[in-house]
Amino acid sequence: MSCSRAIEVEAARDGRLADRGALDRHLHTCADCRAYADRLDALARSLRSLPDAPEDELAAQRARNRLLEGYDATRVPRVHRRGRWMAASAVLVATVAAIYLVTARRSARAPMIAAADPIVIDAEHARWSRIDDGTTTTVRLDDGDARIHVDHRGVWRRLVVLVPDGELDDVGTTFLVRVRDGHTFEVAVEDGRVTFLRGHDAPLLLTAGERWVVHEPVAAVAPVPSAAPAPPRAPSTPSIRVHAAAGATGAARAPIGDELRDAISDLDAGDPTTASRKLREIVERYPSDPRAEDAAYLLAIALQRASDTIGARAAARDYLQRFPNGFRRAAIEPLAR
């Protein structure tokens, strides 16, 4: 740049040039400054066109859960720091309340106000159970319909719904799950988002207004690996459909490596020994790959199916140690015992 006014090109770009018109007139006559302005435009375009790296939905959901759990954990010490004051306040309030209750003339039966449960389950005729453990609630739906609503506005709780052929991880807030004869045949999301892990299928993200249904006899649906050894079976590909409301985003499918797919095929084909060998290789070769968690989980399942109970327990414990907040934690814990 030989023109002394080239600095004005940048100044205009940064919004610190008082007389933009003067520069525009200068640009008509100065090839040097025009070239510099073009170079800066090209640079900005290059920066804006750097490729994005899309993140798969499952990884995003895990990151979201880690964030919420992490933030929830950071809030606890603050409560502890103020613990003494809180305790003193509580004693004072309790004393006042006791005096009031004793001296009050009316026979007021003080209503017990419990903290509102953030998870509401409407499953009147279904067979189901619920376990609350730390920050996670696990609902096991064996049969029937369950409409579940999660209110994440209070204390954060992760909700996992175990169905016979998979599991759903709630990202909020209202959804319906229907199970018949040991198989999920419908998941409908009214509000929020749900990730459905069904058997060995890639995770399926369902958002508000979307509905997943099986369109074939449920007997043909490939079952999910369970804690108990399963008999060999031929792989099957059920027909599934996602119905989306207008404006709803489509279902996201995470990529899965060829090696993992190969091992899963062996597992599906009733060869858990070969599958476990391949899965172990994947776990060891790709310890930091996002697929390692799935492989570690399937390794425990494959060993269990191969009747290697000791190996399965070791693999399950290894999974829990490596992925303490893992997606399959609830499913694999029984194997680790």
Partner: protein
Amino acid sequence: MALKPAPKADSATDAELLTRIAAGDLGALGDLYQRHRVDLRTFLLRATSGHGDADDVLHNTFLTAARIAARFDGRESCRPWLIGIAARLVQQRGQKLARVARYLARIASARSLARDPVPELHARNDVRHALAHLSAAKRVVILMAEVEGMTCAEIATALNIPIGTVWTRLHHARRELVAALEGG
């Protein structure tokens, strides 16, 4: 059973979500994360050395935002505010890496690695490579201005630095990038 519908994330403004976060509503933090995750991650992938760093800083950005949610000024979009938090974290990370590199260089009596050494490992093309050679301070400023479209005043506020410093960093960042891309 009648279920009370939760407020839809889409209907709440950023300011409303941050008010709820300040009041301890974790669901609102989830909604805010959902709304701005992709944009912030894209910014961080350009401003840092790769996925691992970007995801770490992304996580810390939202944790920080949640901690200081009550300080948000209530404007319609909190995106520039979040970008500012992320940019500051990137700079701090760059300074830490530089300190470690200097320390290692002293021990090894090797040449100084004071410049953030990590981005070079992940450079994929000329622009990315050139960008990776900038200091973290210049890198975040040029990205905030040219990619995020923030004004110099907004950048100065977000990074808590004088506007003159923003102009200077932008000037040097452009000069270094142009020189690198033109083989200078």
